[in-house]
């Protein structure tokens, strides 16, 4: 379990399961008694009932702190981590538990306050957050994150009970009012709001938390303000739109619930779905997640969720203007109008102190497309991080581990704004964060920094450079004299394979298949021809014509998912299918660090949209201007996908640094080696 908790990539929706928390601390045996049942059956009605009645508006739904990506969450997180090691003791009797819950109550109200009255002092929220960390959030969370995931069993905790009670007892008042609150989304789920109400009441009973004010840092204050603003905005929106509309996000949210942004919506789904049993477990995880959350926008944010997008935009450094007409199926993906941001960003260069110049530079290169390709992007990112770490110094009164993780998180969010992360980058970030988290506390700052830098170097060297060499060695054994090898697009590993085979004196011919609009096969073609290889160049339209003379297809991949699906440049699936139809073996070359345990069945749910303009414009053809003003035509949408998913049926073999595997063995590799090796 611990291993699993290592921080995960931002990309991964499952991130939430993972955490830095030491398991020992979080699992007090005392809690193990089966609380939930008690709670359900015996929950004191009086208490619950009273809750709604109490003066504080029960309606308001506290934005789930864990969910909020913003400063709030980070605050909560820090508080939580602090609190983490000391689990709140849960009294055996559930009655008492209510009182115990204080932390919960205290927390929630603050949030509600935020939502309704921005005036509330931010500090209260903070405090609440710290206390809150122990238990309460579970209920909200639980629902959201699919129950089964966490193996770590945190015995049923009070938080869950609370949820149960509130849902059972609270009944009345909350729903109607909900529309007013920020979390209008919640409306649909009465349970949630009620629970909150319950929380509130409790909090009042105990009021203890408030007194403890802490000094908030500037960043924290800003974060809080932002949250408040967001809450207001949400409230407005809710008033008009009604829950269903805004909460459209709720459904998708279940999946991604991970990090992100908007606090208010987050809470929706959970209660409704939250299975009681599962909920118990999650409490533990919560803390770790908080750590992770940071300010990173959810990498797989659903961009058809207006509310969230708005929020993300507010915090964004990069001012991406969204394209107006988007293809129906792909509305959940970000679609920007390209080319407008560069000058803007350049002008901002000197104002962006939080972002290290090297990170900034790499981000801009992503944006302009100067760096592309999974390995290149990943290496550039890691080197930028290395620079940033070199120049990093821990601010006073902060721990390097925490602060640096947050820093990296903000860099990552910047990268995401420039261009969505690739899975390889996600894995690299996961690695880096786990290294940071595992730094021994005894290390001095300079030692820690140098150890991190050498870790980064080692990752680049072992996982990318040497892995490529190993792949090349393996792949070359599959090239025989007289072969005709086909490749698609431009993959760095495949190029190395061809060149190495040439070095070995094998006689073969290469077919480079390319496609508009990127035409990156041309660069590959030039390099191969310059080395004296006999090449054929064609476009993907001719694939079925050229395939009959091909004996092997070598493809690169952006990622290999655990059902064997190859996630790669758009068009790869087409090539693989054609090859399959012609009984030509398809060899996919992919370093093991790009493997991912996610399963994906289509190319729709996770993809990246490119600039639609480039497909409408054909360079060199002046008269082909039918699509010049396509954006003005409401009935026309252009779709420029970046990736597609190749089903494993069409893949004969995956060549990794661990050898040559059938696609069915990817999950084994991920399971067996991810923990120790892939992430080192």
């Amino acid at each position: 379990m611990e291993l699993r908790r290592a921080p995960r990539t931002v990309i991964d929706p499952k991130v939430r399961q993972v955490g830095f928390i030491t398991p020992g601390a979080t699992l007090p045996p005392a809690r193990s008694h089966s609380v939930p049942t008690d709670a359900c059956s015996t929950s004191p009605p009086a208490l619950d009932v009273s809750l709604p009645g109490s003066s504080i508006s029960p309606v308001m739904i506290p934005p789930p702190r864990h969910a909020s990506a913003d400063g709030l969450s980070s605050l909560a997180r820090s508080a939580a981590t602090a609190a983490a090691p000391v689990p709140v003791p849960v009294p055996a009797s559930h009655l008492r538990r209510d009182t115990v819950q204080i932390p919960v109550g205290s927390y929630n109200p603050s949030e509600t306050l935020l939502g309704s009255s921005p005036m509330m002092s931010p500090s209260s929220g903070l405090d609440a957050g710290s206390e809150f960390s122990n238990e309460v959030p579970t209920s909200t969370w639980l629902g959201r994150r699919g129950s089964g995931k966490f193996a770590s069993s945190f015995p049923a905790t009070s938080g869950e009970m609370m949820a149960m009670k509130t849902t059972g007892g609270g009944g009345g008042g909350s729903t109607p009012k909900s529309s007013l609150t920020t979390a209008s989304v919640v409306k649909a789920l009465p349970g949630v709001s009620e629970k909150d109400g319950g929380a509130l009441i409790e909090m009042q009973n105990e009021g203890t938390s408030k007194p403890q004010k802490q000094k908030t840092s500037k960043a924290e204050r800003r974060a809080i303000q932002e949250a408040q603003r967001a809450a207001k905005a949400a409230a407005k929106e809710a008033g008009g739109v009604k829950p269903s509309a805004s909460s459209g996000g709720a459904v998708p949210a279940l999946k991604q619930g991970k990090v992100a942004k908007p606090s208010s919506q987050r809470k929706d789904g959970p209660q409704v779905t939250a299975p009681v049993t599962s909920s118990e477990k999650k409490v533990v995880d919560r803390l770790p997640e908080k750590d992770r959350k940071k300010d990173v926008p959810h990498p797989r944010m659903q961009f058809d969720d207006k509310h969230r997008v708005e929020k993300a935009k507010r915090r964004a450094v990069v001012n991406q203007s969204e394209a107006r007409s988007r293809v129906e199926l792909f509305r959940h993906l970000p679609q920007y109008i390209r080319g407008t941001q560069l000058p803007d960003l350049e002008s901002k260069f000197f104002q962006l102190d939080p972002i290290h110049p090297s990170v900034y530079k790499v981000g801009l290169q992503y944006l302009s497309g100067d760096i592309s390709g999974g390995n290149a992007r990943c290496i550039a990112m890691l080197l930028a991080f290395k620079e940033a770490i070199k120049d990093y110094s821990t601010p006073p009164e902060k721990a390097l581990v925490r602060d640096l993780t947050a820093k990296i998180g903000s860099y990552v969010s910047f990268f995401i704004e420039c261009r969505p992360l690739s899975i390889s980058m996600g894995n690299a970030i996961k690695f880096l964060k786990s290294r940071i988290a595992k730094l021994p506390h005894t290390l001095s700052e300079s030692e820690a920094k140098s150890s991190l830098q050498s870790d980064i170097d080692r990752f680049i060297n072992e996982k990318i450079v040497i892995a490529d060499k190993v792949i090349v060695r393996h792949a070359v054994t599959k090239i025989r004299d007289g072969d005709v090898l086909l490749t698609y697009g431009s993959s760095s590993v495949v190029e190395m394979i061809f060149l190495y085979a040439l070095e070995l004196g094998k006689h073969f011919r290469v077919v480079v298949v390319d496609s508009r609009p990127k035409l990156d096969g041309q660069a590959l073609l030039c390099r191969l021809v310059a080395k004296g290889l006999n090449c054929t160049y064609t476009h993907i339209n001719a694939i079925s014509y050229i395939m009959h003379e091909v004996t092997r297809v070598f493809l690169g991949a952006s990622s290999v998912l655990s059902n064997g699906t190859v996630y790669s440049r758009v068009g790869t699936a087409c090539v693989a299918m054609a090859a399959h139809a012609f009984q030509v073996p398809v060899l996919v070359c992919c370093e093991a660090y790009k493997f991912h345990e996610r399963v994906q069945l289509d190319s729709i749910c996770s993809n990246e949209l490119g600039d639609p303009d480039v497909i409408s414009k054909v360079p060199g053809w002046k008269d082909l201007n039918h699509l010049d003003n396509w954006a003005d035509n409401e009935n026309l949408q252009l779709l420029n996908l970046t990736y597609d998913a190749t089903p494993s049926d069409y893949v004969s073999m995956i060549i990794t640094d661990y050898g040559m595997l059938p696609p069915t063995s990817v999950p084994v590799l991920v399971r067996e080696y991810r923990r120790e090796h892939l992430w080192i």
């Binding site: 092997r552 060899l587 004969s652 073999m653 661990y658 050898g659 040559m660 595997l661 059938p662 063995s665």
Partner: protein, 414 residues
Amino acid sequence: MWLRSASFVLDKRLQQQEPSSFFHDPRDSAQPPPPSPSVDPMDQNPDPNPNHGISAYYQTRAEHHAVVSSDWLAQAQAAIGRGAAPPSGCWPSAAASSAVAARTGSVGGGGGKPFSVIDEFNYWRKKPDLAEAVAAIMALAAVIRSSEATTMMELEIELKKASDTLKSWDTTSISLSAGCDLFMRYVTRTSALEYEDFDAAKLRLIERGEKFGEISLKARRTIAMLGQDFIFDSCTILVHGFSRVVFEVLKLAASNRKLFRVLCTEGRPDRTGLRFSNELAALGVPVKLLIDSAVAYSMDEVDMVFVGADGVVESGGIINMMGTYQIALVAHSMNKPVYVAAESYKFARLYPLDQKDLAPALRPIDFGVPIPSGVEVETSARDYTPPQYLTLLFTDLGVLTPSVVSDELIQLYL
């Protein structure tokens, strides 16, 4: 019998100097002739089979499975009799030339003890019931036993050299190299290497080596137990080639009073099907012989196909005697299950993409009539059956689907 066919005689004449020729034709004399002392094992290692016309692997198989003859029986008896002798050291002593001694000297670092893996291996290999891989495992175990290394590292290097020697002895045998690799993994991947005391560590290695040999020996029985459950009363089973594992499965099923019928392919060119049908008939199982080209014709009356394997590759497919692939194709197209019985020491880290993606194992074919000049003959002895045409694999690790093979290999080797 291709051994006595004209082409074989011709081949043999060409390879008079071939060192391993003495066990090619054991049936010509009851006792295997002593190896000629002039042969230097050093030479044979890099390229033990100078004539690439014949795969040594199939020569061994021919010895073991050819149609029963009196001289074969005599040879088998002799082999068994010798089995009682202590396995290490003493047997090859007569044969071992000074060159052998020199080699072991270089291998063991110690000195004059005449010990050669190859000789040891050949000794075990003679036993008709012993698979080649098991013979290799036994030979490697003997290497540890007779080693004079004084450090763990030395011993490991010695073992590695011995296994390389064995592997290079016959590069066409998949199970041989797979068995060697597995032995190395199994033996060296143990805490033994961390022991303080070298002798204790060595003992542990020997123990593990012997245990592994034992497991391999028992593998066939395990598979028979697992496989016979799939045979139901009144079913018809198509069998291709002679596989000792498949025979064991059928034998156990027959002894459990299951009533089934077996269709045996002829198994050209060495007609192993003849021997198989012979042995089955001796068990009282109704058998019918088919020529190899009658498979599709009789497939509709078949309930399941049973084949053995020379090697199981990483994709989950198998490499087996020529003809397996087409039988699997026919069975697949008629929705008949294809079961493969294979011991786990045949799992090899190979990944052929297609038929030609293998080191070819060649075997001369006797067409009974002279081949017209200018005509080429396909002499490859085996083919590769891709995993999608296989239903299940019966192994001593359990009944596996083809995709599990790779998982097991990953766990073993990575």
